[in-house]
């Protein structure tokens, strides 16, 4: 194997519930502490204990951190999967495994490192009952010794992981050292081709999960009610929200300026959000596909009554319970068209953890400015995996609370209609319960209503309301994050991607360039789409569109709007739906093949 300095991938195969998470965290953070960019992807089952889990770490000093399909180092801790794991390992890879696994007999083209984990942990950890947890630290020591992770970096990572609990740190460090010592003694002449060398690429960077970033965004946006029903992969949004809010959102007496309510189901979760928003505070819920199904009716209600709401959809594989712990962009069409009747839902598509934060923050402004439900479309890959990012920046501008009238405003108002389009932008003024002035009091109902919020079954009034909502939809475009032309070369060949595909997409653009294919890359960030999409469609002859779903949902969503009709035939879907975080090589290979095919056809 050729030498791979700061450019390789590690996969650790364990059984879930075995406590390997701390070990993986120490491993990834110690490399990060040496100044080298990393990412961590947890491929885990819907289970508490006993099923296979893989944690993959990609080390890349150029910050290409999307999942890599081939691993250079494989750690086999799982009896149940090692045969498959070893069979699918890349040639020349290093396989670290329990000594009873007969790896060398199965594969001659790999470097097998057979480790007596049981003996080593027995020596390193005198307390028998703690061995099950510390045994995983032995592979940390083995990998550290093989690839050259500095001891000080390991120490820093241990400190961070165990927060100065000295007894726990010592225990784990002993196990790591046992691993290191084992390699020194048994592999004195082996120099692993995969090596880390200290760099300065992670200074001022952070490692964060998208769900943590989103929760922080909600906290700094002043969200005051978070109602939720537990569902993977969204639960950690609520957990991070509670964790940070309990520290940073208390009043001077130590009491909460927010409420977190674990609801009985997703119907109730969004119902609480609407009640709280109606009363005038910022409120949100977080869920995933099955929960969205239950929120459909209330979402339509909020669309029609123009009640603010913020919903984070951390997408996972469907239909039904599908692969509940695997990633997907499967709710794109469903959410954009959520609910019965004529509805259109504003969606945000964060493509980085930084956007998980800033879009979460912005979602609260948008919900109140547009008086509509706003869906933040994240996914399991973005939400639950560890991403390197610049530190989240403080958003130093006032909260945008939208058009709300209070009693003092009524001193200068003669007439009020809750659904009167006074400013001719489709966005009306709302009032909040508690208002004294009776002219501003209204009754919120999902039934037909006129400009004065009075019940009516008049078809004319209904048409007026629906057309006005359409006008608001057009106004909304100006408020939303615009699409980003991520790469421009003047090529007639283009690619469109969004959400968590971005990391793999930008790497793929780079790989394609090295293969002689230049293509422009447009990243969508919100629905309704902005004019940049139209320009991009006009300016390119062949355009690939990357979707992490089976049916090309983003392509379908674009084709819903007749104004793009002339360009739809140029859009070619590239579809990935195996539940795994997207890898750049998958896109690159597909595009090369398609381009070659087109060339062959023309030729």
């Amino acid at each position: 194997m050729t030498s791979k300095i700061n450019d390789f991938s590690i996969s650790v195969a364990t059984v879930n519930g075995s406590g390997s998470q701390s070990s993986n965290q120490v491993l990834i953070r110690s490399i990060f502490r040496m100044g080298i960019p990393v990412s961590g992807k947890n491929l885990f089952p819907s289970n508490i204990q006993g099923l296979p889990t893989w944690f993959t770490i990609r080390v890349n000093e150029n910050s290409w951190t999307a999942r890599h399909t081939q691993n250079d180092i494989l750690v086999c801790m799982n009896e149940g999967t090692y045969l498959e794991d070893v069979k699918s390992a890349a040639a020349q890879s290093i396989i670290i495994h329990h000594d009873h696994m007969k790896v060398a007999e199965i594969r001659k083209d790999v470097r097998s490192i057979s480790v007596p984990f049981k003996d080593l942990v027995a020596k390193a950890c005198p307390e028998a009952k703690l061995r099950k947890l510390t045994v995983n630290m032995i592979y940390v020591g083995i990998v550290a010794e093989l690839v050259g992770i500095e001891e000080s970096a390991i120490d820093e990572a241990l400190d961070q992981q165990f927060r100065a609990k000295s007894k726990v740190i010592t225990l784990n460090k002993d196990a790591i050292n046992a691993g290191r010592e084992f390699i020194r003694q048994t592999q004195p002449n082996f120099k692993s081709p995969c090596q880390v060398q200290r760099r300065n690429e992670t200074k001022n960077k952070i490692l964060i999960e998208g769900n943590a970033a989103s929760a922080i965004g909600a906290i700094f946006a002043g969200c005051q009610l978070f109602s939720w029903y537990p569902i993977t992969p969204s639960s950690s949004v609520a957990e991070y929200f509670s964790q940070y809010a309990d520290k940073y959102r208390l009043d001077k007496d130590g009491k909460k300026t927010f409420a977190v309510v674990q609801a009985e189901d997703e119907l109730a979760a969004i119902g609480m959000v609407l009640g709280a928003s109606w009363m005038g505070i910022r409120a949100m819920t977080a869920t995933s596909g099955p929960g969205i199904s239950l929120m459909a009716e209330f979402t339509g209600y909020a669309y029609f009554t123009e009640t603010p709401a913020v919903v984070f959809d951390i997408q996972r594989v469907g239909p039904s319970t599908g692969l509940p712990t695997r990633t997907s962009q499967g709710d794109i069409l469903f959410v954009a068209n959520l609910s019965h009747g004529d509805t259109k839902i504003v969606c945000l598509y964060p493509g980085t953890v930084e956007e998980c934060y800033s879009f979460a923050y912005q979602a609260f402004d948008l919900a109140e400015q547009l008086q509509w439900p706003i869906y933040l479309m994240s996914d399991l890959d973005l939400g639950m995996n560890l991403w390197m990012s610049d530190p989240l920046k403080y958003i130093d501008k006032p909260l945008q609370r939208g058009k709300v009238l209070h009693d003092k405003d009524f001193e200068r108002i003669e007439k009020f209609g809750r659904y009167q389009d006074t400013d001719n932008d489709g966005i009306c003024y709302r009032t909040l319960p508690g208002l004294k002035d009776r002219r501003g009091v209204f009754f919120t109902r999902g039934s037909g209503h006129n400009e004065q919020a009075q019940y009516t079954e008049s078809g004319e009034a209904y048409v007026r309301m629906m057309n006005r909502l359409n006008k608001k939809w057009d106004s909304a475009r100006e408020y939303l994050p615009s699409s980003v032309l991520e790469y421009q070369s003047g090529s007639r060949l283009g690619v469109i991607a969004y959400g968590s595909s971005h990391d793999a997409m930008r790497e793929s653009v780079h790989e394609l360039k090295q293969n002689g294919i230049d293509l422009d890359y447009l990243r969508l960030r919100a629905y309704p789409f902005d004019s940049k999409l139209e320009d991009f469609l006009k300016d390119h002859d062949q355009i690939f569109i990357v979707d992490q779903n089976r049916d090309g949902q983003m392509r379908a969503l674009i084709s819903q709007d007749s104004k793009y009709a002339a360009h739809i035939s140029k859009l070619e879907s590239l579809l990935y739906y195996d539940g795994l975080p997207l890898a750049a090589s998958s896109i690159t290979l597909d595009i090369i093949e398609r381009v070659n095919r087109s060339v062959a056809k023309v030729g």
Binding site: F220, K255, E264, I281, F443
Partner: protein, 349 residues
Amino acid sequence: MSTPETKLNPMLTPNKAGFTKKDYQGSVSTLCTGCGHDSITMHVVSAFYDLDIPPHRVAKLSGIGCSSKTPAYFLAGSFGFNAVHGRMPSVATGAHLANTSMTNIAVSGDGDTASIGLGQFAHLIRRNVPMLYLIENNGVYGLTKGQFSATADKDSLQKKGDRNKFQSIDLCMMALTLGGDFVGRSFSGDAKQLVPLIKAGLLHQGTAILDVVSPCITFNNHQGSTKSYTFVKEHDEYLHEVGFVHGAEEIKVDYEEGSLKIIELHDGYKLTLKKIERDYDPTNRIAAIDRLEKSREAGQLLTGLFYINPDSLSLKDTLQLCDTPLVEISAEALRPSESALAEIMDELR
């Protein structure tokens, strides 16, 4: 308990908050003439007027159905939220948490509560969200033309003659077993009993469940129905006579020694229960469950306040919320500082 003021025309006479009874009315009802719900609306108006609660301090919530339309017919000066079917409790929970200083009145029906909304009903009680939850119970789906609801009694007859084959759900029994701290039942036509119960429910610091039998004049007022005017009048069994007084007001009901129970409510109000059944203790949940089950066996329609725990712990305290209603906290106070974000970022390096 008539005072000199209330002898005057209340439609023109302001209460202590400065509002006439007219100020507590709403738009004209579109329900059928003779509907029990319209009587309840009238009693709600009286209760709010008597309690001197300014309309703008009230939030009205409802689900879907005939009953859920009624918040439009009272308190025109209050904001109302007519939610989706069976999901009003969650909306009310969010609304309450946002502004704990409002008085909440929630109106639902037997379909909205006992069928599609049974789950949210249960969890509302479990969380003890402060509000009066009024069920206008007629045992039938009116808006969809007369299907049985889940509170229709077994073997009672539909207007077309069909017999109900299923057990009915007793929402009071449910509320009691779910740990509800205020559970009562009344009849839409009984102002004397219902108005004091509405007032007590509005003052209660947790979820107050009032199941009010309210006959459907169009679809469920025939012979063989157990929710008709005639049936209710024939089978109504008073647990006690209910009265309502304020602070220093003299308690004027005639009662035998030891047969009056006084329950202290919020803001100095008191509920008086003249004990028709001498041994009944409305602060004993087990007794309430026992008495309710006995009345079911006997085929009675027991009415009154079955259970009250005046020391109910409010949701705000359970969740350790600050004293200021959340909606009144300034935006500045809601946003952690730049240094707080820097601190969080440092932990992630």
